[in-house]
Symmetry: D4
Subunit: 168 residues, 8 copies
């Protein structure tokens, strides 16, 4: 299986992105994670993007806040799919990061997920890699069932809660 | 090669999405396009999503405006990657569609591109399919060079324009 | 009297929606409440909507946050009135949920109330059901008087507070 | 059948709201329409709201732009359900009207539909009245099928368009 | 001197508005304060507005949050100037209240101040009443000098702070 | 009667503000109008503000677009009430001007009206001046009746229009 | 004098930026202009930034729309001041470009001017270069007087216009 | 070397701006800091701007929140470059201040940095002054390397953290 290259703009992003990394690990998807800034280490960012394909990566995940250029800068340097995770750092609650990631000009897409959507970036990466990996595809099907089961369980829990609250 | 399932919420979306379909065609990527609404034909939407994998699709592209539920509704029904294209229909210029597509809850990602980003949705689909298709990967590399060449050509054109405008 | 079907996208929505359920209970309006996600349990959502009328429901209330598709997805599956409650979960304070619920395309309305407007969703449901229920209509008239009386009482309390603060 | 009271804040709103009136007429729903401003004719607005129930109305639809107080002012004066239609007049494209209608305080809901959602306001009114009107309920079921059929027809039309454009 | 009629939509608004009342008191401006809701006590609101002039008021101040109709509803019922104070209650931080107050249609202005701008509403009321009250006008001139002196004093304090912080 | 000082930031603002000047003229309110920029002619702006009271003005109206500092800069230089008119010039449709005018810090209020609210700025000025001018007060009462009559007339016109459109 | 490096993300930006180039030319400030995209020609962008200082440039101006990364990407590659011009291309009227340029993380500033602020970018560049160029400083002082004179002239023109319109 | 004039609208801004002053001090850039309000001490603001050049300043930094006119007011009074720092005070999280600073009309630019971007304002000032100061230019080059080194160090720290978290 190809692996996933996860790049965060700052070490403060790790608290959010850790959840995505755990999800990748759960499914046995190999990944490599880095702190790399589009503005402070632009050459490293360019190098990571340029070498990503030859080093065996299949998907990039880039997470950044504020004027979040990192996913776009990586997408400029590779033809691999790049997933962008806008982070809600700073006073604008991630709206700045969302627009800076999703509004890419024609020719250089960034596959943007929700603000702070670390887990969804991992799932999206898995969905992409699963196209050629039957085991991973099965994991995703099972995960979808788990999601359903959790909601069904919560629904049963609600019935109990309503009874406890005198609402049933 | 797996093919791409392109779904538009309304026939008025075709004017924008046609550019994406042309891009897919240019690269020889097989696709099937439909008008299907999350709200008016929900069962068909559910069916298209449920059958997508077994029918040989590898990626879904869903384009919608306003409260754009289509990409999320399709993502609910498949483990294939779903690309969302928010469309700028209505008075809010696509902000409603953007938020309704990108802010998906954990577990069900939508890979959102820019408002009206039809071409980028096609490129992203191609990037995903190219992971296992060397010819398509080469097409994407060539396309990236073309983008560069076009900008370089425009830069040379600017020099002429500046001279014509007495600014050089 | 017809009853109300209340559906929440997540169990974390219960803290807000409980206030609406209490209001329904106060007026003796029968209701059934569920956790059901448009994206994690889409079939259950479709089923709940499809069977709502035959099961004796008159109104649906759907509460969700982020890309809040739940009310629209339910409205797609029934001709009963669907009330949407946008919830302020996530960094965008419910603006995403508001737009995802209220900006429904022509043909499939969602009767949207304020962000976190659980009580108002219950009142709106009661107003609808009261059209053919004189007792409930009387309850609503009495409630309106109570609202007035509470404000009048607060106005009298203000006079005391002003005196206590040396402002009268 | 109870009838619908439709109130527009200005005569310039009629161009949009006419589509809703036509929808009501199609289904044989009796309605009465007025121009009445929350700010220029507040007493008439209060009177219309106060008398609405005794005059046989079951639902109010109120459409206004800018600081759109009309639906809320009407809701203050009746316990009938009030549907609000925010209109995109002025430079803010209806965002002002949307927030002024949907963000009602607890106790006085306004059932808000999309910006310029005249047809949806009519459908919502019909859904409410249909709770006790089997013929109207059947009309709504038929309308839902029509919506589906139109999309299916558009989908077939797309196949032709794709062929015409050399994309199929 | 004419007096000021201060109306708050809810008792929870008093914590903010108290600062404005203190300012009025400081300058010896007579005022009367009420809790009165545009939606819960509309008749009282209409009555307060209708009688304001004959009862000797010269200016109204109205403070409300969310879909803040109170200032506009009062302005509909009087030709006295009405000052609106949008309050930052609820998840939208007062943007809803600001738009619902300031975007009044032609004919019925509301003199809107900043979100939570209780003190500024009092100063604006004083500026209006000072047009025919030389003592109050002198108070305002003195207040302007105080504002200046406070800033000058803070500037001197900054010099000390910079020295303490080793920055001077 | 005191007169009104109307200041526009640019000559392009006159097309909008002319409607306000006409309203002042209709009521016989003396006014003086200037083009004066907070940024291009700051000294003239400061002088106009400083001399306004001694020159017999009672109210200032300031209209500007973009980063609309003009009303605030004038308010800094006078204790007369300053009315701000945000203008919808530029790509942000006046949101920039609205926030730059209304969000004044404590101590220096600007009485802000709607975006492009030229007529309302004139009415607000008239309301302020009418506090000590019985004739003007009567004009405002008459104007309020005219507004009402116009709406009533439009309401009768609607009845005719509905008949013409086959909707009555 | 050091010269100015002006970089546009697309040739469609020239229509706006030409006004800035003319301003530079008027003051005799040498400049070099290029079309260069942060995403399509990232290496050229990096090279232009890296060589800017040694090639004699003193300031960079970068103009781009949508997810406008160009100014930030250039700022990442030089210690020269970089001025960003957000352009109002696309449905979001330049809000996306504004946030993507101004919200730069700590360490890498972009001196952002108004949306479409081409002339202001040139003036800012001139202000920077004028610190060590007395002739250019004098030009800027003269320009400031011209701005003042133009407003004064417009003010006199307003007097004539008011007379022509019967408003004086 | 020319020095930097740093002006804050309020003493509460010092907590943020201190970080910028420290950065200036680190590089040995002389500065003078003041509390001065565009609205409370407009004459002092005008004087500071008017005398800035003759007193040996090369750059102004102005920080303010809400309707942040301070940078624009200073820019109106000098031809030196003025850097604006929007501050996130008040309920709108600095969006008001950002628009009030960046959207300056043609002729009077403000070089706006990020909301709360105190350090970036200092770096931008340093970049400007470094054009004619080789030592400072070297400091900036060194700082850029430090930024890079810090990110590289954080990247190595991430490797350790991943190992500690069982993710590597």
């Amino acid at each position: 299986m190809k692996s996933v290259l996860v790049i965060m703009g700052s070490d403060s992003d790790y608290a959010i992105m850790k959840n995505g990394l755990k999800q990748l690990q759960t499914w046995g998807i190999p990944f490599e994670a880095h702190i790399c800034s589009a503005h402070r280490t632009p050459q490293k960012a360019a190098q990571l993007a340029a070498e990503a394909k030859s080093r065996g990566f299949g998907v990039l995940i880039a997470a950044a806040g504020l004027a979040a250029h990192l996913p776009g800068v990586l997408a400029a340097g590779t033809t691999l799919p790049v997933i962008g995770v806008p982070l809600a750092s700073g006073p604008l609650a991630g709206v700045d990061a969302l627009l800076a990631e999703v509004q890419m000009p024609s020719g250089i897409p960034v596959a943007t997920v929700a603000i702070n959507g670390a887990v969804n970036s991992a799932i999206l990466a898995a969905q992409i890699l699963a196209l050629e990996d039957k085991h991973l595809a099965a994991c995703l099907e099972a995960y979808k069932l788990e999601l359903k089961d959790k909601v069904d369980k919560k629904d049963r829990g609600l019935a109990q809660q309503l009874a406890a609250d005198g609402l049933a």
